[in-house]
């Protein structure tokens, strides 16, 4: 179980792969991996977006993501989970978030992965500020899941 918040751009698929390879206890045991990656688009609510700044509540963010991961592991039979989230200034096509879950069977992996993403979007202390041609604006609310 790992949580990381980073100002550095990250490659979600390489990170996922490296994490999985580093976890000897997964070998031979996991049948199902479900992963979700959120990526910055170059448009939102009808406007072109040139860049974005992600603010967060350092300390609370990590604590909150770890608590979410623990709750998921209580609710479903999981072997492992990984959450990475970017903060700071992002450009279009930059990965923002990775959520990955390992389990023996696919139902648990799918359900836990989706639950973690919905929880993250609705409760983890991150805030987006978009830069458009007409200035910058705080994103007021997320799209419904």
């Amino acid at each position: 179980m790992k949580v990381r918040v980073t100002e550095q751009p990250f490659d979600p698929w390489l990170e996922l792969r490296a994490y999985q390879d580093s976890r000897d206890e997964l070998a031979g045991r996991f049948g199902a991996t479900a992963a979700f990656v959120g990526t910055m688009r170059d448009f939102n609510q009808g406007d072109a977006v040139q860049a974005m700044t992600l603010q967060h509540y350092a300390g609370m963010t990590e604590r909150h993501l770890e608590a979410m991961s623990s709750r998921a592991a209580e609710r479903w039979e999981l072997l492992d989970s990984l959450i990475l989230h970017r903060v700071g200034r992002l450009l279009p096509d930059d990965p923002i978030v990775l959520v990955a879950v390992w389990s023996a069977h696919r139902r648990e992996a799918f359900e836990a992965c989706r639950w973690l993403m919905e929880e993250l979007k609705s409760t983890a202390p991150f805030w987006k500020k978009e830069e458009t041609a007409t200035g910058s604006r705080w994103v007021e609310s997320n799209t419904p899941g």
Binding site: F36, G38, T39, M40, R41, L54, Q55, H56, Y57, G59, M60, R63, H64, H85, I96, V97, M117, L120, K121, S122, T123, A124, P125, F126, W127, K128, K129, W138, V139, E140, S141, N142, T143
Partner: protein
């Protein structure tokens, strides 16, 4: 520096995102009487404005409620609805 009176609680207050920008600050220390709630901390930090219903509150980095009493040394955070993730 806030005056430290006997029986008073020192609380660190933080504001995030659009809320912090609107208030023009991200961090402030306030003193409140023993037994004060998070809502009272807000009133001490932002005099003259009631705590907006849409503002979320956290105490020591965990979600909390306006009616929750605070303790000396607490970190109390106020912030708008969160908008992380993507998709």
């Amino acid at each position: 520096m806030t005056q430290s009176l006997p029986g008073n609680l020192q609380v660190n207050v933080r504001f995030f995102a659009a809320l912090g920008e609107r208030l023009g600050r991200s961090e402030v220390r306030v003193a409140v009487p023993a037994g004060a709630t998070i809502e009272a901390v807000w009133s001490a930090a932002v005099p003259g404005e009631p705590l907006p219903a849409s503002v979320l509150v956290a105490r020591n980095m965990e979600y909390s409620q306006p009616a929750q009493p605070v303790e000396d040394g607490d970190e109390i955070a106020f912030f708008p609805p969160v908008t992380g993730g993507r998709g």
